[in-house]
């Protein structure tokens, strides 16, 4: 038995290690490529260890930009991406907590109709309604603005559904106890519902931040000015079709930089995030 278990553990570790290598190797390669100069990367004989150009490449890309396609410094793009991702994550949480609260705790006419309309938007992501959405955003003069980037992506039902499911698991007696304790609807929301939702909020924040950060199609449509570009679009632009013109070391450095904020958010929220996915404090 003991032998068996050891063998099982060993096999599990081997499989896990292979998995980690498969995931990590391209990331490592990207990092290595961002630390050499252009010619080393291009000639196809790049070593598998980091080179001496780390500081130079990152300084250049952060504060100057590439020499051909995107002349803007990447730090500005990171800021754009960050503002967009934050706006999407926070906006979505704000709207979905409130709408779920209304749908679960209030009895108003057409409550279920409202809920189903929200539900149906699940089937209408931005990609599907892209033309009308673009038209509206442009008619409202929101092209090349942060509002234009974020608002259309905020509108979706996932968060509302998530919070609705969570609120429905909260026992009615808590609401009743609050009523007897003299807490009105807003106090119940603030003092009981929100603190209980903290882990769910954290989980949604992580998911939505990464979702916002990784947006490609929508920012591509609504931004025309270089100064409003997001980092994901910048990476795409840096990789020119004529391979030789691509400043690979800079593109790779940008890719590394693009990974940092999501990784940071996941690490910072890790404890709450995992808790939010697996358990709730009730």
């Amino acid at each position: 038995m003991v032998e068996d278990r050891r063998l099982g553990d060993l096999i599990a570790y081997i499989i896990l290690t292979i998995g980690v290598l498969i995931v990590a190797f391209p990331v490592w390669l990207t990092f290595v490529a961002s630390t050499w100069d252009a010619s080393t990367v291009i000639n196809g004989e790049m070593p598998l260890y980091p080179g001496p150009y780390f500081l130079e490449n990152y300084k250049r890309i952060l504060f100057v930009g590439t020499s051909s396609t995107t002349r803007e410094p990447v730090i500005g793009m990171m800021l754009n991406s960050f503002i967009m991702a934050m706006a999407i994550a926070l906006g979505k949480i704000f709207i979905s907590v409130l709408s779920a609260y209304a749908v679960v705790y209030y009895r108003f006419p057409f409550r279920m109709a409202a809920f189903w309309i929200i539900f149906i938007t699940l089937m209408l992501p931005v990609e599907v309604r892209i033309f009308p959405t673009f038209k509206i955003v442009s008619d409202l003069n929101m092209l090349d603005t942060y509002q234009g980037l974020a608002i259309p992506l905020i509108a979706s039902a996932t968060g509302t559904l998530l919070f609705r499911q969570f609120f429905m698991t909260i026992p009615d007696e808590l609401l009743e106890a609050s009523k007897i304790d003299g807490a009105g609807p807003f106090k119940f929301f603030k003092d009981t519902l929100l603190p209980l939702s903290i882990t769910t909020i954290a989980a949604l924040f992580v998911i939505q931040f990464i979702y916002g950060w990784n947006q490609y199609l929508w920012p591509l449509l609504v931004t025309t000015k270089d100064s409003m570009q997001t980092i994901v679009i910048a990476i795409k632009k840096m990789i020119v079709t004529a391979d030789a013109l691509t400043e690979w070391q800079l593109a790779m450095a940008t890719a590394m930089l693009a990974m940092l904020p999501p990784v940071f958010v996941v690490i910072a929220m890790q404890r709450l995030f995992v808790k939010g996915l697996v358990e709730t404090e009730k």
Binding site: E176, A177, K179, I180, D181, D191
Partner: protein, 359 residues
Amino acid sequence: MAQVTLSNVKKVYAGGVEAVKGVSFDIPDGGFCVLVGPSGCGKSTLLRMVAGLETISHGEVAIGERVVNQIEPADRDIAMVFQNYALYPHMNIYDNMAYGLRNRGTPKDEIDKRVKEAARILAIEPFLERRPRQLSGGQRQRVAMGRAIVRKPQVFLFDEPLSNLDAKLRVQMRVEIKKLQRALGVTSIYVTHDQVEAMTLSDKLVVMNAGQVEQIGLPAEVYRKPASKFVATFIGSPPMNILPGQVDGHGIVALGDALLEARDLREDLPAQTPVEVGLRPEDVEITSEGQAGSLPFDVEFIEELGAAQLFHGKLSGHPFVMQAATGDVAAQEGRLWITVDPDKVHVFDPKTGARLGKG
């Protein structure tokens, strides 16, 4: 403190379920009223109408002089203890108890005084910093009580507060609740379907069935003179034996061939009126053959309970149970002769279930 008055209170749920069908009674100031009845009879609904958690479809609920039908739960000056405690999981025990006071703008030092006082009375001082989930069921129960008493309300409402506890703890908490209520003198309404809780706690027992009140009275009264067959079989354990019989003259009923004196039997009933006769297992006494009023009881098997024994068998062809203190009779199967004190023979109308008593 205040008295609570219910006048013709009804509840019709959306969808037409009539959960409470016109209930009237009052609880004197400082009284302990227990609502008891089988599952689904509307006890919780009635309690929740007093609390203000359900709207009152018809009738009036008054606390003190004030009709509270239209008043918010928070303003009714009541406190409620829930079956699953309903403590706020994210607050520590201190905050759980203080929350209601804070919402009312009670000064900080007053809150602190009351919470500490309640914690002392309930022996939960060591846990004030803990979260509810770090407490045992019994401790959570105390916190729920504490949350109620810090408010110093006019009325306590309890909805089966002990049913999540194990048997031993339940007995202990029952005694504590009674003591506490005596000490504080707060008018209380307590819902349970446990008849032992009902008998021991109440000074006013309300037996409900299918949305209606079957009987209201002192617990001993309800036990001694059940107003209907339903109450007779619901209160008392093991339940009362019910046997078909008929009137055989003034104060006499016939069970098959045997005659039995029933002192409380109504006098205007003609002979041969079919009735149902109720005999409590613990009222049955053993006698010898040929004794006046003795009934033959064929014992089929005996259950040993420790302090008592239950004899199961047949009396004139109907299932019958009797209880005897261990050692009273040699435990033996076969025929026994039994008798029942004429004061303890209950007679009911077989159709309506109403007691056919002298009034």
